[in-house]
Symmetry: C3
Subunit: 320 residues, 3 copies
């Protein structure tokens, strides 16, 4: 997390803050964000309404397709009484005319009160934040970070299991290229979890994250087979093998369905396990799993709206 | 029309219903919808304002370009006090990453209160509706159905002629590939109309529709020449020959201007006839026809907003 | 400016007017527009809020990418309490199906209360305005006009220098193809300015504009070197050499950085000069210029929101 000027995390005042990464967050920050997300959950669930961001404008700058994340931000803003202006795709932007992200940010700050930016280039969200005088939330910057996804994942784990401390959480699939599991690992280090890192040898968690987990004294084990996780985890976090990260398409074909969660296996081994996935899924979780009470991946989406409501209201300094 | 759970058409309660087709509609349904559209017409005409859908969010999922239909839905929602989130085009969607329509629907239901979907694949609107727990309105699914167009067409005929029973209605042009005239035929079968089906032999109304009209005892005749319609119809419904449906472009060229309505011809034969068209027109109706009092195709657009206001408010259970 | 029906500029009543060009504007019109922009500046600056356009809908029809202009119009509308429906790009429009602009306009007038249109074809905004019964604002039509840019430029000059009469204004760069400097020249002719037209010989101001300036008795000089302007101007208006206008890319390369404004040069020669640019810049102004008090190009963006608020409220007949 990047904090501008005299706003510091110690005061718990997020007003004006940029949310760029999960790395710098401390447990107390997390508590503020998660409590605020919990507060807005009834609004995300359409049970209550709110006008807390009346008069505020969100600029959603999506330089690459990410319909889910964009609509989640827009929904969060609209259901809190705010308004949205949106840019979708590289072509429809001034970038086509050679403008720098710095200049784009200096322009957009005149339109909006807060920016959510998605960009294929790692570091681009920070570039926007450094230029803009209004708060910036990173909606994913390439292989970089995706902090709102990681935050909604932690929020979902707590919603589903009541607590995270003491839980065994399995991260399953492509741990090498999946930025989601990277951002999530940083966050989980704030809790007393037992991490199971399940991946093919070629798609193991990067050294940088492994070192970080060790430094933070996180209890974790790496493994290739799913069976231990399937028996012992309270949460299985499954991920898509990302075709776009593979140069060699044969290798992609080999790994894309390396782990498939089926209803039979889950019911036989661990009927109450919580199943999560950042979506879209492309076969990692069978459709028949959807009917299980522990299938939490669509509730994750709803929690994502609540979490983004929390961040938008916090960085805009709205009191609840 | 597809009705979910214990909501049945017999109770006239559309709350939660999906509007996927015109086929299952009964006359009593039509009456409810048309009455509601009439009620909202002053709002569509910008003479009155309404906040009846305050706090509601429409997701407009447009997987193929259809600016008119999308803007009509969005305008209907906004002018009733609601808000919109929109997806335009296939590329900017998660589908590019291989997500099924089923999963997309399970995601979107967490954002919106109602979905309007346009998709090139027949049956896709039903796929979305089967997955989503919120009401879904079909904004056109390929060669399948386009129920809101057909409903606004019937609404327009009644607005223009005061009634439909006893009227002679000519459907003119490409009756084979034009889904609009198919959906419309189903609806017109509920009224005591005399149908003139005017098309080149190669573009005749499909057998399925002809059988349906016979079964419903609709009085109709098929013909290739326009002259009978030009003399006797109270309503001429002209359609565009759809280039995109022809494999053979020579054939398209041959038929595209098979029937052209001109001011001279209309004034000479049938000055008070109502002229309709689903738009866009590409030459089927001369520009000079626009000045005739019976030129109703742009009023059709306005009626379309009122009709979509009716459907949105009905499926969202709003009382008027 | 095109005025429809019995609405005339003499009455100072802009209700229902189309804003298509800066050519026909008289000084009294300008005063009304600039005063209204000044009135809305605190709303554009997010210091005040307004609901003056509550219930009104803007259709933003952007047939070519112009994110800045589109977002500026949308922001202006939203911050005055209005709503927006938007079309971005040629492909997602009915034009792909062969519809004329005339028909598109007749359709859109049923959705919106006012249209902002951007189109690559000169004259297209007038085509839309001629067809539509609602007011139309030209958001740039190819090599034609860009009146809202010129108006916000004049508004910015007055905001920055308190007045325009008596000022020396230098227009620098591509004066041949840059429609912005053309529209701006027409407007500046209403003030007692001294114009310095600084360009390479190959990119001189077109004869038509030169003749107009002479006819209006504007004091101006043409020159190739920047030094006179750098020493004597109160306002330097720098422009981008537009790659897309050059057939010969070698020629583009030769001219693209013909004039570069640097902090050193400005501080040495004319420290208090106001620097303006319609953006995006691609090297004409060094980044280090941004820190100078006279660097007004990002304030221009904010003024653009206020100016578009002024136009939207005027043509919609809103009283302040």
């Amino acid at each position: 997390m990047y904090i501008r000027g005299n706003i510091t995390l110690e005061t718990m005042d997020f007003k004006g803050a940029d949310i760029l990464s999960t790395k710098g967050l401390i447990r107390a920050d997390l508590d503020v964000i998660l409590e605020r997300a919990k507060f807005f959950l009834p609004v995300a669930k359409k049970e209550k309404s709110s006008q807390i961001l009346d008069g505020k404008v969100l600029a959603a700058l999506f330089y690459e397709p990410s319909t889910r994340t964009r609509l989640s931000f827009e929904t969060a803003m609209l259901r809190l009484g705010g308004k949205c202006i949106s840019v979708v795709g590289m072509d429809s932007s001034s970038l086509a005319k050679g403008e720098t992200l710095h200049d784009t940010a200096k322009v957009i700050e005149n339109f909006a009160d807060v920016i959510a930016v998605r960009h294929p280039q790692p570091g681009s969200a920070k570039e926007v934040a450094d230029a803009a005088s209004i708060p910036v939330i990173n909606g994913g910057d390439g292989a970089g970070e995706h902090p709102t996804q990681a935050l909604l994942d932690v929020f979902t784990m707590i919603e589903e299991r009541k607590k995270l401390d003491g839980m065994t959480v399995a991260l399953v699939g492509d741990l090498r290229y999946g930025r989601t599991v990277h951002s999530l690992s940083y966050l989980l280090s704030h809790f007393k979890v037992n991490l199971l890192l399940v991946s093919p040898d070629q798609l193991k968690m990067p050294d940088e994250i492994i070192k970080y987990l060790k430094k933070m004294n996180v209890h974790f084990s790496e493994m290739e087979k799913l069976d231990v996780a399937m028996k012992n985890a309270q949460v299985i976090y499954s991920t898509r093998v990302q075709k776009e990260r593979f140069v060699n398409q044969d290798e992609y074909e080999r790994f894309k369905h390396y782990y498939i969660l089926t209803r039979d296996e889950i019911e036989k081994n661990n009927a109450s396990v919580t199943i999560m996935h950042p979506l879209p899924r492309v076969g990692e979780i069978s459709i028949d799993v959807d009917a299980l009470p522990g299938a939490a991946y669509f509730r994750q989406v709803q929690n994502g709206v609540a979490l983004r409501m929390a961040l938008l209201s916090l960085v805009l300094g709205a009191k609840v």
